[in-house]
Structure formats: structure tokens, C-alpha cells
Amino acid sequence: MNTAGEAKEGDVLLKLENIHMAFGKVAALNGVDLEVKKGEIHSIIGPNGAGKTVMMNCINGLYRPQQGNIFFKGQKINNLAPHKIAALGIGRTFQKLELYGGMTVTENIRMGSHIHLKSNILSGSIYVGNPKREEIEDRKFIEEEIIDLLEIESIRDQVAHMLPYGSQKRVELGRALALRPEVILLDEPMAGLNLEEVEDMARFILDINEEKRWKITCVLVEHDMGVVMDISHRVLVLDFGNMVIDGTPDDVGKNPQVVKAYLGEEDLYVTRR
């Protein structure tokens, strides 16, 4: 599926060059650059309205940047439709849940892998040979890899909108994983979760990033500074559409502008450490 070929550890997988995006007179992104290397957890932080989600939306094609280019494994993607970008191997979760509320957990997750199924409406209706094999493999992958990883066995047959918020967040991640992405965009996966759920979610992110089975590169937008500083390899700081710094968590933590603008909210920084 990934036409641009295999990337190696350390290669630049996703590249944003001088991205500009304005809504009327409000500049949401003002010349932002980003290089995400394979195998990284690259976090994007910044106060509310800094342009983090806009950036995510630009990457996965919901928005078209007015200026600048986005490359995925060298291929320019800023004019592609979202489903094409997804098919290239960029998955995402949403800050505000975007599950199919009336479907069960398993059905939601299966939607994520639908893009990989080759059978059509005709061959699928017969359910012999390839479609059957494909279906069984897909189900096996979802059960053995995703449901097991996210520990959602007990809710697999429940309808998504009936679930507690923390569980719905997991299901979103599950659906994004079913796409078998190379890069996953995580938009505030910890927001609204309690301490225990945050720890679980951080563990899942580390698992999908480090576990041989997955090795997924993560772009993480998150407000929880404790988590960001603990698990990221690199951190990009935005402030009203402008880049403040892009560096390692240590560099970012020492940057006076960051400390003043964002980490200065000491309470927020220390909450979950």
C-alpha cells in the first residue's frame, strides 16, 4: 500500500515546510517547519489556539495549507484527499471523539482496516476463497494485536457511544491502529482521562512506538506536560501559529521563552509528574 517504499530508522518520514494557514485574518500557522523521523515520538505543544490541531488537520488532508508543502516519504501530499493520505499510512485520532456511536467497538476498529480489504461487494457477499481468507486474517489481526494490546476485551461487543470516555479514547486509538499506519497523529489522547487512564494511554503509545510488531512513528499533540516530557524524543513548541523551538525535551525545558509562555504555568507542568 505504501507506494513510496520502506523508510529506515532515522529517515525523515514526514516533512512540513513553511506551512501557512490563516482563517480570515487569524493566522493559525505562520511558516511552521517540522521534520518527523521514523521511530520518533514527536510532540507538538503550545497553549490553546497555538495551531496544533490545525497542523494535524493539514497533515491528514482535512485542511489544505495556503502556503508551504507537506511531504510523506518524499512524496508531496498537501493536495491529496484525506482517504488517500490515510491509505499512504498516516492514521490519526481526534481530540473530540469521532467514533461511529451506534456501532460496536469491534465494528469501529474494523472500519479502520477496511481500506486494506480487497474484496468488493460481489465477492464479499459470497464469502469463499480470498474474501473469506482476508476477512479471517483481518479479524485475527484486530483480535490478537489491537484488542489485546489495548485491553478492551470486555467491551468488544458494546456499542461505542455507551462507553465511558476513557474507553472511547482507546477505541479511537484502536481504529487508527487498524489502518496499519506508519505514522500516527494523536490529537490530545490524554485529555479528559483520569490518572490511571493517562498512565495506560502513555504505555500504549510507548508500546506502539517501541514494540517490534508496531514500530509506529507518533506525532503527539498533548497538554499534559508530564507525559510529553517523559515519552517524547522531540518536542515542537508553537505559540499563536509561530514556532518557538523544535528540540529534545531537555532543550525545550530549558528554553526561557517556553518556560515563560507555556511551562510557566507551573501548576500544569507539575500536575502529573
Partner: protein, 639 residues
């Protein structure tokens, strides 16, 4: 039909295991586990292979006869394999509750001199690694689930698979070693070191022999036989003697199939899928099931509610006739069949009780309401009485001879007596050998082969044993009028809205209660009544919830003599929890501890005040603590 195995004093559990494996081989399923949404079967041959290689693996890591092997984890086939593997090599398994706090784990590992630690996941491995410096005898940690283990490379950490590979290597060198080790064993040797849950003090390690365990299995099965075509669902902690009795002693002797749920949270659903023939659980589980039925009843349509009401009315009448040992007239039998066909059959299926022949409750007291409820459904629920020190149970109800205020009559080869002080003592081949490294307690507990239970009770005219609670069944108000807290609590818990209750009043002017609402049921009720809430503490303090709880108490107060009625109550901001030491690991209320912990509440309940301020800490499962400051309202119940 399984070949009958004669239990002799020399026979060991591994010998029974070997015999069953040879008898059934690959032709019969020994256990099933639900994994990835499917039931995966393991035949007796698989069981044999897994145990053999794991056992030899541990031997090549240095396990010797008599070494202790500590184990912790959920109910999974790997747990049984590890236990059996340790026993086959002459090792002594030591089970820990999976939600044990670090201090308890450390105490037990250190006290038991465990050499091996078998844990299921990263969480257990972390616990083991953390205590290793303080437990010098601990040499190896064996783990099962690879999730999150990618960064663990310590030399004394081994996966079960890796250990089994070592075992295969050893087997190639010494192919007869495994069976030779099994045959060397003797029934009089210690096979389990079992730490009691400790209602009062530090856990004590009870030493049990193979003969203790096997004679227990034999005698229980003489009362209520099981067959090798039966299914049993193993989902209660292995660190509870009841589960050992069912999964190991009876399981091997009868050769029935053990089934392991996918996750602890899915066990209720998995029980329904399996439909076990025999079940053994603490009262809490049955209380939960009752509550579930009551809630579903409240939720259902008018016609279904009516059908339920009529069918239960018939069921209750027939059950009461049975309890009174009166003959059931043919027309009541016909009506009962009608109730079965229209309602009970379906409901039992939902509860996973369709095929159930016997089910037992033990470990704590259960209210008569719950007992009647299950019998009215046609479920053969029986009380049992036992303790770790008799390798399981000593007393149970017989079919057709069930009295819900008793625990039944002794099983074969068991004598039960009452001392002059009213203490229950028993004697049987299953009585344990003593406490590990604690002669003083052993002497107190074992005299001339009689086991002192420290429970009080009496034997009634029908020869049934009646057990009082450890902290006495009947307490007295300060004017000497008696009341029965456990009985009251059981009555209160029959309401679906009440998860737990603690009744107070010993040497005090009147009876009061601390109530814990059932979050999901009351939450649902609140949704229906348009009450907004964000958390348990907030919901519990709502005036309308107080009124709801008051209704439940008034219901329980009915038909009680005046001194035994609850006069005042308070809704607690949380449910009782074993992590906060309010309950034992087997879910018994620790009254003495609670009186200390909630001293402020108790004092205020007997003052002329309508709120109590609390300032305390709650403990999370991983041992972290969080301070809580809150005000709780006190509500008075006017007669």
C-alpha cells in the same frame, strides 16, 4: 466415566495428574482458555507437555525438593501449569492474591523463603524486582505475558517459554527424570504453603500435604459427585483455598474440564458461555447476581415484570415448601414447571446457571433473602463452611436438607465438635500440618489432632452446624438489648441500590449504619430521575439518593424488633475496599479496623449533629495514597 482413583496416604497430586494425563491423553480437553475472543482448548496431553517442560526448566534453574515457588496472577492455564510443575519437582507452591500490596508480597515471599517467583505480567515482575534486594532467597522470576517486557534483560528473569525450552534440553538429556521425580513424591509431604487472608493479624502460612488436599477432594465429591464430562469455571483467586479445592483437588480426582475467562472483567459473560455444572463462590458474587436481576427487572417492560412477579411467587412458594421439608403437591409442581418454562429457564441461562447441579457459597455469611432468591429460581445453592487449615471445607448442606441459617452437616471422615467455650473444632484427614515457622500459633490451633477454628457456633437439633461470626453474631446495645449486625447487613444488601453496609451499635444507645451505594445502579436511577453527578462522592451525598437509601433501610427495618432497627445512617463517599484494608481479600468486613478508621463517623452518629467532617487517605491498587477531605451528611430515620 473417569477411572476411580483410590486416595491413599502415599498418593500425591502429581501422581494423580500423571495418571489422568495418561488416561485421557490427547482425546479429552483438560482446560480451556478464552483468548482473542475464542475458546482455546488444551488437551490432557498439552497439559502434560506444558507442565513437564516447565517443571524440568525450573529444575535446571535449580529448583530442589522442598523449595518454595511463589505465584501471583489471574486465573489462567499458565497458573495451573506453574503450580503443577512446582509440585511435580517436589517444590511447594505459595499463592498470592493478585491485588496484594507490595508490603504483603514482600512479607510472604520473605517469610516463605521462596526461591522462585512466577508472575503473570509486567506488573507482577515489577513487584518481584522491587522486593528482590530485601528477599535474598529469591533467585528467579518467571513471567508469562510479554507485553511491556521488551526492556527487561535482568539475568534472573526468565519467560515461561524460555524456561520450557530449558526443560526440553534437560528432557533430552534425562528423559525419565520428570516421571521419576513424580514417583519419588509421597502423600505425606507438604504440597502447598497457603497464607491465610488474615482478618486480624499478619498472614499465617498453613502447611498442607498432598493427602490433606486429596482427601478433601474425595470427601467433597462423595457428597456431591462431579463427572469428567462436567465443566467448571475457574475465576476466583488461586490464592483462595476454595479455588484450589475445586481446580486442583476435585478437578484432578474427577477429571473435569477447567475453563478460564478471558479477563476478570469478562468472567460473568464467559460463565454464561460455558454453563458450568458446579460453582463455588463467595457470597459477594451471588449478591451481585441478585442485584443484576433486580436491576434488569426494574428496567424491563410491564409484561415482563408481571411474568417475573408471577413466576417468582410460584418459585418462592415451592422453595419454602422444600425448606420446610413438606411434600410439594402436584399442582404446585405443575405451576413450578410453568414458572420454569416461562421465566426461570431464560433467567438461569443469562446467569450462566442453566446446567448447574450444585453451587456453593462460603467464606462469609449470606442473608436468607439471597438464599431464598436462588432457590426460588430453582438453583441448588448450598452453604459451606471451611477454612484454609482443612484444605477447603468441612461442613456443607446436603440436597433436600437446606436450612439457610446453618452451614449444613460435616462431610465424610470429618468430625465437628463444639468446645465448652463454644468454639468450633474439627478433625479430619484434611487437617493441616501447622503454620510455617510459627509453632506458637500451631500449638494454639492444633491440639490432639483437633483443629481450633476460633469461630464460635453450636450444633442444632438436626445436627446442622450454626456458625457465629468471628466478631460475634449478636451484639448488645448499651442497655443490653441484642441486635445482629450481620443479619441486618445481609438484609440491607438485598436491595440493589446498596453495595455494602456496616451496622454499628455495640455498647451504644441505638443501631446506626454506614452505607455504600452501588454506583452503577444508583447512577442509572439518578439518570432516570435527572440528577446530575460527576462522581461517586457527589452522587452519594445527594439528598434524593439519601432518601432512596432511607427507603431501602426502612424496608429492611420492617418486621425487626425495635432495638434492632437502624435509627441513623450516613452514605460513605466510596465503597469499602480491600486495598483500604476495610475488607479482607475474601471480602469480609473488618469491623475492628473500621471502628478505628471511621472513628469520627461513629462518634458523630451518636451526637446531635447532621454532618461529619472526614480527613483521610485512600489507597490505590498500586499502593499510592491520596488524601480526601469531605463532609458527609447524617440522616435520621423517624419511626
Amino acid at each position: 466415566m473417569a477411572e476411580k482413583i483410590e486416595v491413599t496416604k502415599d498418593l500425591t497430586i502429581p501422581q494423580v495428574f500423571l495418571k489422568r494425563c495418561k488416561e485421557y491423553g490427547a482425546g479429552k480437553v483438560a482446560m480451556r482458555e478464552k483468548e482473542f475472543g475464542l475458546w482455546l482448548p488444551y488437551t490432557w496431553q498439552d497439559y502434560y507437555d506444558r507442565v513437564k517442560y516447565l517443571c524440568l526448566g525450573m529444575v535446571s534453574l535449580g529448583l530442589k525438593r522442598g523449595d518454595k515457588v511463589a505465584m501471583i496472577g489471574d486465573n489462567r492455564p499458565e497458573g495451573v501449569w506453574a503450580e503443577m510443575a512446582a509440585m511435580c519437582a517436589g517444590g511447594i507452591p505459595v499463592w498470592l492474591f493478585q491485588d496484594c500490596m507490595m508490603d504483603e508480597v514482600k512479607y510472604i515471599i520473605d517469610h516463605s523463603d521462596s526461591k522462585f517467583f512466577v508472575g503473570e505480567t509486567q506488573e507482577e515482575v515489577d513487584k518481584a524486582l522491587a522486593i528482590m534486594p530485601d528477599c535474598p532467597k529469591l533467585e528467579y522470576v518467571i513471567w508469562d505475558d510479554p507485553k511491556g517486557m521488551r526492556r527487561y534483560h535482568q539475568p534472573n528473569l526468565k519467560s515461561i517459554i524460555k524456561t520450557q525450552e530449558l526443560g526440553k534440553e534437560l528432557d533430552e538429556k534425562e528423559p525419565d527424570l520428570f516421571e521419576k521425580m513424580i514417583n519419588e513424591g509421597n502423600g505425606q509431604e507438604i504440597c502447598l504453603l497457603f497464607y491465610t487472608s488474615g482478618t486480624t493479624a499478619l498472614p499465617k502460612g498453613a502447611l498442607l500435604t498432598h493427602y490433606n488436599m486429596l482427601s478433601m477432594g474425595k470427601n467433597l465429591m462423595a457428597v456431591d459427585p462431579c463427572y469428567d464430562t462436567d465443566d467448571f469455571v475457574s475465576y476466583l483467586p488461586f490464592a483462595w483455598i476454595g479455588e484450589q479445592m475445586m481446580s486442583i483437588s476435585c478437578g484432578l480426582l474427577m477429571g473435569y474440564t477447567l475453563n478460564f475467562p478471558e479477563e476478570p472483567e469478562t468472567s460473568q459473560h464467559n460463565i454464561r458461555e460455558i454453563g458450568p455444572h458446579v460453582m463455588f463462590a463467595a457470597p459477594r458474587l451471588y449478591e451481585g447476581l441478585t442485584r443484576q436481576v433486580q436491576v434488569k427487572y426494574l428496567d424491563s417492560t410491564w409484561i415482563k415484570r408481571k411474568a417475573y412477579e408471577i413466576a417468582t411467587k410460584i418459585g418462592y412458594h415451592v422453595a419454602d415448601l422444600k425448606f420446610e421439608k413438606k411434600p410439594i403437591p402436584w399442582y404446585w409442581n405443575a405451576l413450578n414447571y410453568f414458572a420454569y418454562a416461562t421465566m426461570q429457564k431464560k433467567l438461569k441461562d443469562h446467569l450462566g446457571m442453566s446446567r448447574l447441579r450444585h453451587c456453593y457459597t462460603g467464606g462469609a455469611a449470606m442473608g436468607p433473602e439471597h438464599f431464598r432468591f436462588f432457590h426460588a429460581l430453582g438453583v441448588n445453592l448450598k452453604q459451606i463452611y471451611g477454612q484454609t487449615e482443612v484444605a477447603g471445607i468441612s461442613v456443607t448442606h446436603r440436597d433436600g436438607d437446606i436450612k439457610f441459617d446453618t452451614v449444613g452437616t460435616p462431610i465424610p471422615e470429618t468430625e465437628v465438635n463444639i468446645t465448652e467455650d463454644g468454639e468450633i473444632i474439627s478433625k479430619s484427614p484434611s487437617v493441616f500440618q501447622g503454620y510455617y515457622k510459627n509453632d506458637e500459633e500451631t500449638k494454639k490451633t492444633l491440639t490432639d489432632g483437633w483443629l481450633h477454628s476460633s469461630d464460635t457456633g453450636f450444633i442444632d437439633d438436626d445436627g446442622h452446624l450454626v456458625v457465629f461470626d468471628r466478631t460475634k453474631d449478636v451484639l448488645k446495645l448499651n442497655d443490653g438489648r441484642p441486635f445482629a449486625p450481620q443479619y441486618l447487613e445481609a438484609r440491607l444488601k438485598f436491595s440493589p441500590y446498596v453495595q455494602d453496609a456496616w451496622v454499628i451499635g455495640d455498647k451504644l444507645p441505638f443501631v446506626t449504619a454506614v452505607m455504600c451505594i452501588d454506583y452503577s445502579v444508583v447512577g442509572k436511577w439518578a439518570d432516570e430521575h435527572k440528577i446530575n453527578y460527576t462522581s461517586y462522592p457527589e452522587l452519594s451525598q445527594d439528598q434524593r439518593v439519601y432518601d432512596l437509601v432511607q427507603q431501602q433501610i426502612e424496608e429492611a427495618n420492617k418486621a425487626l424488633p425495635e432495638p434492632a432497627r437502624i435509627n441513623k445512617f450516613v452514605n460513605l463517599y466510596k465503597a469499602f475496599d480491600a486495598d483500604d484494608e476495610e475488607l479482607t481479600r475474601t471480602s469480609k468486613l473488618r469491623r475492628g479496623f473500621m471502628e478505628q478508621r471511621y472513628k469520627d463517623i461513629v462518634e458523630t452518629l451518636y451526637k446531635d449533629a447532621d454532618t461529619v467532617h472526614l480527613d483521610m487517605t485512600i489507597t490505590y491498587e498500586d499502593g499510592r495514597e491520596q488524601p480526601i477531605k469531605t463532609d458527609l451528611r447524617i440522616q435520621e430515620i423517624k419511626a
